[in-house]
Symmetry: C2
Subunit: 164 residues, 2 copies
Amino acid sequence: MREGLGGESLLFLTDEQLRQGIEAMFFAYRGFTADPDRILSDLSYGRAHHRAVHFINRAPGTTVNNLLAILGVTKQSLNRVLRTLIEDGLVESRVGTEDRRERHLHLTDAGRALEARLSDAQRARMRAAYRDAGPEAVAGFKQVLEAMMDADMRRAYGKLREKG
Amino acid sequence: MREGLGGESLLFLTDEQLRQGIEAMFFAYRGFTADPDRILSDLSYGRAHHRAVHFINRAPGTTVNNLLAILGVTKQSLNRVLRTLIEDGLVESRVGTEDRRERHLHLTDAGRALEARLSDAQRARMRAAYRDAGPEAVAGFKQVLEAMMDADMRRAYGKLREKG
DNA sequence: CTTGGAGTGTCAACAAGGCTGACGTATTAT
DNA sequence: ATAATACGTCAGCCTTGTTGACACTCCAAG
């Protein structure tokens, strides 16, 4: 099996290398969420609100069930977040026309404004990291992350990429 | 500024590319924590316990303050986790010899066993992802993650790498 | 037209794991 | 002596996750 790779070095698969990757993920994820978290705490929102707003912006008109699957939480959990966002006028819930049981979610202008604010903060850090690392590193970064996802999340991710 | 990079393509810095990276981080982090989370929930432990055990294993004899800085939580939060780990005989807290105010943390045999179990699960996924992506991708992956960290976390990460 | 099931919303209760603030107690440093 | 440090702990609050139960609307199949 190792020989099947044509004798190339497999040193990048040592436990120590893997552990470094694990720790890198941990520390990097903290940085990844730090900037939006600061903005959110001023508004007494949390990460769950950010995630909802992000994916509603990404796929306007998405149904609650759809969002549930992407976010991987229970409807009760999502509903609590969604309710505050609707009350605060950031999200609009429209009864479906084809299937009137469904609620289609859209951002209001205020919602889009918040999304942009959060996105900008998060993208600024990503942009700096991407620029520091360069295009080849970025390609590798995405490749590893995609391989790390659960199969169903990889599918969801793929669908979102198509839309982009 | 763009010209300063020698005219190379900067398409990897578009907002759409950045957004894909953001979503990749989100989905990948879920996969990253999924396997240990399953093990932990059977033991009525959480991610916080995993993190503590991981870093105590990584830097045996570390002090509480040290761990606090690495984990980025309050001492009250850490203490709650640490207390259960000590009660359950997974972690040992030894009074410092030089400075007797300090408590030095060590894993017991049982603690090491749990750490290994969690590590193995997490590493298995990382190893699969690394192997799928290949060594060049892994190098890029780490480069981007490191660039994404806060400065102080990058320092902490560097220190841990030296030890490894 | 009735009935089952899907999609949704909501109530209640609970737990993990963050947070702040305050206080106590060794121990060390000044 | 006094101040600062390291740690533990109590109390209380928040977000965000969980289960379980129940009701409502609406679609589709019988």
